[in-house]
Amino acid sequence: MALVLLAAPLLTGLIRKVKARLQRRRGASVLQPYRDLRRLLGKEVVLADNASWLFRTAPYLIFAFTWVAASLVPTFATGLLFSWTGDLIAIIALLGAARFLLALAGMDVGTSFGGIGASREVMIASLAEPAMLMVILSLALIAGSTQLSTIAQFMLSPAAGLRVSLALALVAFVVVAIAENARIPVDNPATHLELTMVHEAMVLEYSGRHLAMIELAASLKLLLMISAIACIFFPFGLVIGASEAGRYFVGLGAYALKLAVAGTLLGIFEMSIAKMRVFRVPNLLGGALMLALLATLLLFVSVGL
Amino acid sequence: MGISFDVAHMLAGLMVLAGLMMLYQDRLYPLLHVLALQAALLALSVGWQAHLQAAPHLYITAAIALLFKAAFIPWALRRMVFRLGIHREIESVVGIGPTMLAGMALVALSLEVMLPITAQADPVARQDIALALSIVLIGLLLMVSRRNAVSQVVGFLAIDNGISLAATGAQGMPLVVEISVAFSILVAFIVIGVFLFRIRERFDTVDVAALDRFRGEQP
C-alpha cells in the first residue's frame, strides 16, 4: 500500500517530463509532484461560503477509496495479503465511488463550472464503466476468475496463448483507462480553459490540503490502471505466491520498468494527438464498449478464441 | 283427415295471403280493409277449430276476433287516421317489390323450419304452425318496413292474428281465451297510446315537434 502511494507522484512527474521533452522544453524535474504536494499541504484551505460538510470530507474519502482500490492490485507480486477482499469488479466499483463523491463535491458549491464538470464526468463514466466491466467479463471468461491475482497467474501459465479477444480487450482497457484518468484526448489535465475542462472543472473550488488529496488520488488512479494493465496483459516477472527475496527484487525491477515504459508511451501518445470535442468522446468510448462486448461474445460463442 | 283438414288449411293459407296483401298495400285505408279481412278469416278458422275440437270456449275467442279485431280496431284506426289527418299513403323503407320478395322468403323459411317436425305431431297443427309462423314473421316485417305508425300497429295486429291462429290450432290448448283477451288488452293499449300521444308518422317520436331533439342522450 505504501509503495503505490510513493510511486504514484513519480509516475505523474515522469509523464510530465516526457511531454516537456517532446515539446523541446527542459521541464520540471520528475520530483516536482512531490514538491507540489508538500506545498499544497502546507497551505491553508479557502472554502467557498456555502461549501458543506460534504465538500470538506469528500477529498479524504476520495483518496481513501482510490488508495484501497490501488492496494488491491498486485504490483510486483500476487501474494498480497488482502487480495481476496475484492476482485476486479470491486476495484472498479471503488473507483466509481470515488468518482461519485468527486462529482457531488463538484456540484456542492453551486457554480456553473462545477456543474459542467460533474455532468460531463458522469456522462463519460456511464460509458467507460460498462466497457470496463465488459473487459473484465472477457478476462474472467478466459481465466475463469475475476480475481486479479488468479488472472495474472493464468496469464503466466502456458494455458493462455495469444487470443483475438485478449487483443480486443487490451485495446478497450487502454481506452477506458485513458478516459478514466482524464487524459488526452478525452480530457486535458493541464488545461485551464474553462469550457474544455472536465476533471479540472470539478476540483475548481478546491485548494490547499484538499486539493493535495485529490491530486494524489488522481495520480494513484493512474498508477492503478497502469499496474492493472501490466499485471493482466504483461505479467512478466510477476512473483507468484511467496518465494525468496531475490525473486521479489526481480519483480520489483520489472514493475518499475513497466511503469517507466507505460509512462513514456502515454506521454508520447498524449503529445501526438489533440483533445477531442466532448461530444465525440462517447463515440470513442462506445467503440471501446463494442470492442469489449465483441471480445466477450467471441468467448461465449466458442471458448477457443 | 279429409275435409276438416282442408278447410282449416285453406283458411290458414288465406290468412297468409292476406298478410302478403298487407305487404303489398301502399295506402292506409286498403291496408285496414285487408287487416279486417285477415281478422275475419281468423275468426272463421277459430270457429272451425271450435267446431272440430268441440271446444265451446273457442267460440268466445272467435267472437273476440270478429268483434274486436275485425270490427273495432280497424274502425278505430280509420277514425284516428281521419282525426289526426295522417297522410293516406304509407312511406315504405325498401319499396313494395323487395318487401313482397322478403315476405315470400319468410314464408319459405317458416315452412323449411317446420318441415323436420316429426309427423307424430298431428298434421293440422304442423301445417297451421308453419303458416302461423309465416304470418307472425310477415307481421314483423310489416312493422319494420313501414314508417307509418298506423301500419306498424297493423303489423302488430298481424302478429297477434298469427299467434291466435297457432294457439287455436293447438288442440286442447288451455288458457286460450285468457291469453287472447290479455293480448287484445295489449293491442288496445297500443292503439290508445298511438291516439293519446298523437303519433302521426312513426313510433319513434311521441311528438314530432318536441322530441326530435331528444334521442336518449344527444347533447
Partner: protein
C-alpha cells in the same frame, strides 16, 4: 407460526376499521401508524424465524366454499414476508411523523393498514382464489391511497390508469390460474403443483405470469402506470408501493414460474432475460430525464425490477440446463436485490417525503442547498443514493456483484439464444448501474447541494424525529447488509433449497466474513474488510494531515474561475445536468432533439434552447389501444340514437338469423 401471522394480519384489518372510526382525531394517526409499525415488526420477526422451518399450512372456511382459503408459510413466502415486514414497519414509523402535515387523514388512515394486510395475504395465499382476492385487495387499497390527494394535479388520472393496469394484471393472472387449475377447478396450489402442464400450456402460463406479475412489478413496456401512481401517493405509501408492492409482484412471478410450473424451457429464460435487460436500461434512462424527485425514484424502481428479473432469468436459464448451483446463485442474487431495493428505495422515498414536507416542492428545479438546513436527512439520503448506485461497501453493490458472478458463471450453455443474451445482459446491467450512479449524482447534487433556487428551499427546516429515525434506521440497514452479506446469503439458502433443490455454499463459516459465491479462486468479496480499510485510511490521512500539515480554514466567495457571483440561477439544473447523456442516448430512445434559437446580432433578446422528446413506449403500446377503444365506442354509440323501428328491425333480423341458423343446422 402461521396462526400468529394471521392474527397480526387480522389486527391490521382491525386497524383499518379503527382508522375509519378515529380518522378525524389526532389519536387516530398514532393508533393506526403505531399499531401498523408494531404489527409489521412482529410479522417480520416471525417470518425471519419461520425462514428455516418446514412450511406450515392452514385452511380456513372462507373464500371459495368447496376449496376454502388455503394459507401456507414456506421459505419463499416467509422471506418476502420479512421484506414486507421491514418495509412496512419503517414506513409506519416514518408516517408517525410525516403524516402530521397530511390534510384529509380520513382518506389515508382507513386504507393504509388494509393495504399492508393485502400485501401479507398475497404472500400467504396458497390457492388461486385467495391469492387473487388478496392481490386485488392490495391494488384496491393502494388505489384509494393514490387518489387520496385527488384534487392535486392529475392524481385522479394516475389512479385511474393504475387501477386499470391492476385489473389487467389481475385478469391475466386469473387466466393463468384458470389454465393451471383446469376445467375441474383444482384451485389449490397443491393441486397445481401435482398437475404437470403440457409444454404449450406451460408456455402460455408463463406468458400470462409475465404479463400479470410484470405489469404489477413495472416491467417495460407494462410500467406506464408506475411513475404516475407512485409519486401521487403520500410519501410513506409511495415507499411501500415502490419498495414493497413491486416485490410482492416479483414474488408472484417466482411463485408461479419456479414453484407451480415445472422446469422452464430455455427460450422462456431468454425472453425474461431480454425483458429484464431492456427494463433496467430504459428505466434508468427515463429516470435521467425526470426532474420531479419522486417520479425519478419511481423510474428507478422500474430499473431495479429489471435487475431483479435479469437475476431470475439467469436462474431460469441455469435451471433449464440442469445447473442447480448456478441457478441457486442467480436466484439468491435476485432475492438479495429484492431485499436491498426494498430498503434503499423506501429510504429514498422517505427522503423525498422529507423534502416535500420541508419545502412543499417535488420539483428539483426549485430546490437546492438543502444539505445545510437538513443535515441528517441529507446524510441518510446520500447513503441511499450510494446504495442504489451500487457503490461499495453498501448493500446495492453486493447484490449486483452477485448477479455479475452469476453471469460469469457459465459461458458453456448449449443454446445460442442464451450464448448471446447472457453477455448482452451483462453489458446492459453494467450500463444501467453506471447510469444509475449518474442519475443519483444529479438527484442529490441538484436537490441537496449547490445554492437554494427558491425561497421555499432556502427556508427549509429539518424534519421531525420519527421520520429521521426511520431514515437513519434504513441507512444503517443498507450499511449492515453491505458489510455482512454472508448473513443474508445464508438466510436465503432455504429458499433456493426449496425451489431449486440446491443452495449456495454456506458463507458465515468463511474467515473474515467474506463471501465466496462458488470458489475462492473464482471470486470473493469482503465488505467488512473493505469498509474497515476505507474507514481506517480515511481517518488515518485526515488525522495525519491535520496533525502534521496545516489545518487552517478561510471562508471566501466561490472562485468559479474569477467570475463574479452570478446568482443561483446560473447553477446547473437537473435538465442541463442530464443534457450530455440525453444527447448520447436520448436521441435514439426518446427521439429528443434540441433547437437553439439565436437572436440576430444586435438584438438583445435572449437566446433560447428548446428541447422536445417523445415517450415511444406510450405511443407504441398505450395510445393505439386508447384510440381503438375510443373509436369503437364512438361507432357503437350511434346505436343509442336510432328510431324504434330500427330497434325492432334488430329484433326481426336476430329472429330471422336464428331461424336460418336453425334451418341450416337441421
Amino acid at each position: 407460526m402461521i396462526v400468529a401471522l394471521l392474527i397480526c394480519i387480522v389486527g391490521l384489518l382491525g386497524l383499518g376499521i379503527a382508522g375509519v372510526a378515529l380518522a378525524l382525531r389526532p389519536l387516530g394517526r398514532a393508533v393506526v401508524y403505531g399499531g401498523a409499525a408494531g404489527l409489521c415488526a412482529v410479522i417480520g420477526l416471525l417470518a425471519l424465524v419461520a425462514l428455516g422451518r418446514p412450511p406450515s399450512t392452514i385452511v380456513l372456511p372462507l373464500g371459495l366454499p368447496w376449496v376454502g382459503a388455503h394459507l401456507r408459510l414456506d421459505a419463499l413466502s416467509s422471506f418476502f414476508a420479512f421484506v414486507v415486514g421491514v418495509g412496512g414497519a419503517g414506513a409506519s414509523v416514518y408516517a408517525l411523523g410525516y403524516s402530521r402535515h397530511q390534510e384529509a387523514p380520513q382518506r389515508v388512515l382507513p386504507f393504509y393498514p388494509v393495504f399492508l394486510a393485502g400485501l401479507f395475504l398475497v404472500l400467504l395465499a396458497d390457492d388461486a382464489f385467495t391469492f387473487l382476492f388478496s392481490w386485488e385487495l392490495m391494488s384496491l387499497a393502494s388505489w384509494a391511497l393514490v387518489v387520496s390527494h385527488h384534487r392535486e394535479g392529475d392524481n385522479t388520472r394516475a389512479g385511474y390508469i393504475y387501477l386499470l393496469m391492476a385489473a389487467f394484471s389481475g385478469l391475466t393472472l386469473l387466466l393463468g390460474f384458470g389454465l393451471l387449475a383446469g376445467a375441474t377447478g383444482g384451485y389449490a396450489f397443491e393441486a397445481m403443483r401435482a398437475a404437470h402442464p403440457s409444454a404449450g400450456v406451460a408456455a402460455l402460463v408463463l406468458a400470462l405470469a409475465l404479463l400479470g406479475a410484470g405489469s404489477k412489478a413495472g416491467l417495460v413496456p407494462l410500467h406506464a402506470w408506475l411513475p404516475l401512481a407512485h409519486p401521487a401517493a403520500p410519501s410513506h405509501v409511495s415507499a411501500l408501493m415502490s419498495g414493497v408492492m413491486t416485490k410482492v409482484a416479483v414474488y408472484a412471478f417466482v411463485r408461479i414460474v419456479f414453484d407451480l410450473l415445472g422446469l422452464p424451457s430455455w427460450w422462456s429464460a431468454v425472453v425474461v432475460l431480454a425483458l429484464g435487460g431492456i427494463t433496467a436500461v430504459l428505466g434508468v434512462l427515463y429516470a435521467l430525464m425526470q426532474h420531479d424527485l419522486k417520479r425519478l425514484l419511481a423510474y428507478h424502481t422500474v430499473e431495479n425490477i429489471g435487475i431483479i428479473f435479469i437475476g431470475l432469468g439467469l436462474a431460469m436459464a441455469f435451471r433449464a440446463n440442469g445447473f442447480a448451483i448456478g441457478a441457486a446463485l442467480a436466484l439468491t442474487a435476485a432475492l438479495f436485490h429484492v431485499f436491498n431495493h426494498a430498503v434503499f428505495k423506501s429510504l429514498l422515498f422517505f427522503g423525498a417525503g422529507a423534502v416535500l414536507s420541508a419545502t412543499g416542492e417535488r420539483d428539483m428545479e426549485h430546490l437546492g442547498g438543502l444539505i445545510h438546513r437538513m443535515r441528517l436527512s441529507s446524510f441518510a439520503f446520500l447513503i441511499g443514493c450510494a446504495a442504489i448506485s451500487a457503490l461499495p461497501p453498501l448493500n446495492g453493490f453486493v447484490s449486483e456483484w452477485l448477479t455479475f458472478q452469476a453471469i460469469l458463471l457459465r459461458p458453456g450453455l448449449p443454446q445460442w439464444g442464451l450464448k448471446i443474451m447472457i453477455p448482452a445482459d451483462g453489458a446492459l446491467l453494467a450500463l444501467a448501474a453506471a447510469l444509475a450512479a449518474a442519475c443519483f449524482v444529479k438527484a442529490y447534487g441538484v436537490t441537496y447541494l449547490g445554492r437554494p433556487r427558491t425561497a421555499a428551499a432556502a427556508n427549509a427546516t429539518e424534519v421531525d424525529r420519527w421520520s429521521l429515525g426511520a431514515m437513519m434506521g434504513f441507512a444503517t440497514l443498507c450499511l449492515l447488509a453491505g458489510i455482512f452479506p454472508g448473513v443474508m446469503i445464508d438466510a436465503l439458502a432455504p429458499v433456493s433449497q426449496a425451489l431449486l433443490g440446491a443452495r449456495m455454499p454456506a458463507q458465515l463459516v468463511l474467515p473474515w466474513l467474506s463471501i465466496i459465491p462458488v470458489a475462492a479462486s473464482r471470486s470473493s468479496y469482503n465488505g467488512l474488510l473493505i469498509f474497515t480499510f476505507l474507514a481506517a485510511s480515511t481517518w488515518l490521512t485526515a488525522w495525519a494531515i491535520h496533525r502534521f500539515a496545516s489545518r487552517a480554514v478561510r471562508r471566501g466567495a466561490a472562485w468559479d474561475c474569477g467570475f463574479p457571483d452570478p446568482g443561483p440561477a446560473t447553477q446547473y439544473t437537473a435538465d442541463s445536468f442530464a443534457q450530455p447523456i440525453r444527447r448520447v442516448f436520448g436521441t435514439v430512445v426518446f427521439r429528443t432533439h434540441e433547437t437553439v434559437v439565436m437572436p440576430p446580432p444586435g438584438d438583445l433578446a435572449p437566446a433560447r434552447i428548446e428541447k422536445s422528446s417523445r415517450d415511444l413506449v406510450w405511443e407504441t403500446f398505450y395510445a393505439p389501444v386508447a384510440r381503438a377503444v375510443t373509436a369503437t365506442a364512438d361507432t357503437l354509440n350511434q346505436v343509442q340514437f336510432l328510431t324504434i323501428r330500427r330497434y325492432l328491425a334488430f329484433v326481426f333480423l336476430a329472429l330471422v338469423a336464428l331461424l336460418l341458423a336453425l334451418a341450416l343446422w337441421q
